[in-house]
Amino acid sequence: MIDSPEKQVVTSQLGKLPKLDSVLRMSEVQAAEAGSSAYQNDDETMIINMGPSHPSTHGVLRLMLELKGEMVLRSKPIMGYLHTGMEKTGEELTYLQGATNVTRMDYASPLFNELAFSLAVEKLVGMEIPERATWIRMLMCELNRISSHLLFMATNGMDLGAVSMMIYGWREREQVLRFFQKVTGLRMNHNYIRPGGVAADLPPGWEEDVNSLMEMLPPRLEEYDTLMTNQPIWRERLQGVGFLSKEEALALSITGPLLRSAGVAWDLRSTMPYLAYDQVDFDVLVGSYGDCFDRYSIRLNEIRESMKIVKQIVEKMPEGDYRVQDKKITPPPRARIDESMEALIHHFKIFTEGYKVPAGEVYVAVESPRGELGCYIVSDGSSKPYRMHIRGPSFVNLQVLPHMLANSQIADAVAILSSVDPILGEVDR
């Protein structure tokens, strides 16, 4: 029944993880016992906790570290402190409400969550969305990638002691969020990208706003170069720290800037294009050493690549409708409700009952600033998803931490954790 492969037979990828023993396979109870008896046994290792409320854990991540002096031997990330059962909640919400739920997962790049969810629903319904909606989605997502990477610049700087960077990063990010507020009404958790298109058209004068953002950013990025990239202390802290090999990254299902830093040119935008990414020109950035500095510089330069895309989108933005004109999915315009009883009923039905989605299952993935963000939806033909699963890139990427932390200094642990850039809302969901 099973085909016998002709190629060289590989049965395990475990051999590709040289630091395999670095994962601390120990429950909290065992760790507590081991920690209390450490000195009695004259064992020189010690198990300590970092987090869950440590300023550099980017949320409520807790790391159990086994230390020998200043050296980290084994470690284990412990999460779940932010778990609110969003996948279970997703089963109770209609497809129309679903986007409000998923947008709260990766709160630093909410539009990508909405995009993955919307693309999955659209694929199940089998609907084609207007061209303008696709390009608006691309514009907003690239701006969101910029704001998310700016947040990384800020927190990465703060974690390593460049506290002024924190202020600069947040300052630039705020400018992008101000544009989001103008378009979607909210700074975060937009519920802007919905199945069928986007919630509203771009406001008049959006080109000027985007262009002024694009003019504002390059000199600021050069300031970052002066402040960090070219600074000897910054390089000392990052270069050669947290090494990740290509084989390790692939075996551990790592995606996003982490995978690219290890030298794998894998970016879903260019390798498996969605939306209209095949119509814009940009480069996939690849690192050569797989250390923290590569991950930093990849993210910094991805801001520049995203700006390149945004400029092309502003030029190519097509005219037309911003959402699909399918009465089953799109609510009537607000003005029609005041004059038409049918429109009112229509509006009421869509928002109370939702729309039915044909039975089936689908997996859709997009490239979020942290890696492959997947959405797996199973529909049973009703107006609510039977199962809604989000493959959070941060969640999977955290598996790499014990391997990168092994045999590093505890001071470098902060730099390594920061370079993974996890968002705990997405890890715990």
Partner: protein, 179 residues
């Protein structure tokens, strides 16, 4: 009884005959243009090994679905529908291809082999499925709860696990009762 045995064998031949498509020794279906294979639980490790050798170098996602109250599944002939399904997505970087595998797992014996040896990246994902669905992965080095507290009872994403709510204590006037 003796008459029924050849009939069963006939069915076996039909499944793997030329009528139904076979990939990696498993029946194939297509869902919204995406390729889905349906390995049996006993062949799961072997199929995953073959996938790895065929160039599917990453298992990007692994999750499960509880089909307790969903009878709309349309699977290739010969697949016995069970309560749980483990769903894994593989990607081949060389060919830029995706492949999804759906494995049927019975509700009475929710166990399956762990992919940890072949795809170590499924470590957290399998722990999450264990936590949320109570499906045991044999061979996983550290199968423990990952999102819920260690002492939690039950598996929240099962369909017979109610959406959590704290009951509100109402006070009624004496003698009156509302339904």
């Amino acid at each position: 009884m003796s008459d029924s045995i050849p009939e069963v064998e006939d069915v076996e031949i039909e499944i793997h005959g030329s009528n139904s498509e076979v990939l990696f020794g498993c029946p194939v279906s297509y869902s919204m243009g995406q390729t889905v294979i349906h390995p049996s639980r006993s062949h799961w490790l072997q199929v995953a090994t073959n996938l790895l050798n065929d160039g599917y170098n990453m298992c990007v996602d692994l999750t499960a679905v509880d089909y307790l109250s969903n009878d709309t599944r349309e699977l290739p002939e010969g697949i016995v529908l069970e309560r749980f399904e483990v769903v894994a997505s593989f990607v081949s970087h060389e060919r830029a291809e995706r492949l999804r595998a759906r494995v049927q797992i019975s509700g009475s014996d929710p166990t399956i082999d762990s992919l940890y040896e072949i795809y170590p990246g499924t470590d957290f994902l399998e722990r999450e499925v264990y936590d949320m669905f109570g499906i045991t992965f044999e061979g996983h080095p550290d199968l423990s709860r990952i999102l819920m507290p260690e002492e939690w009872q039950g598996h929240p994403l099962r369909k017979d696990f109610d959406v959590g709510a704290i009951p509100v204590q109402f006070k009624y006037p004496q003698g009156e009762k509302y339904d």
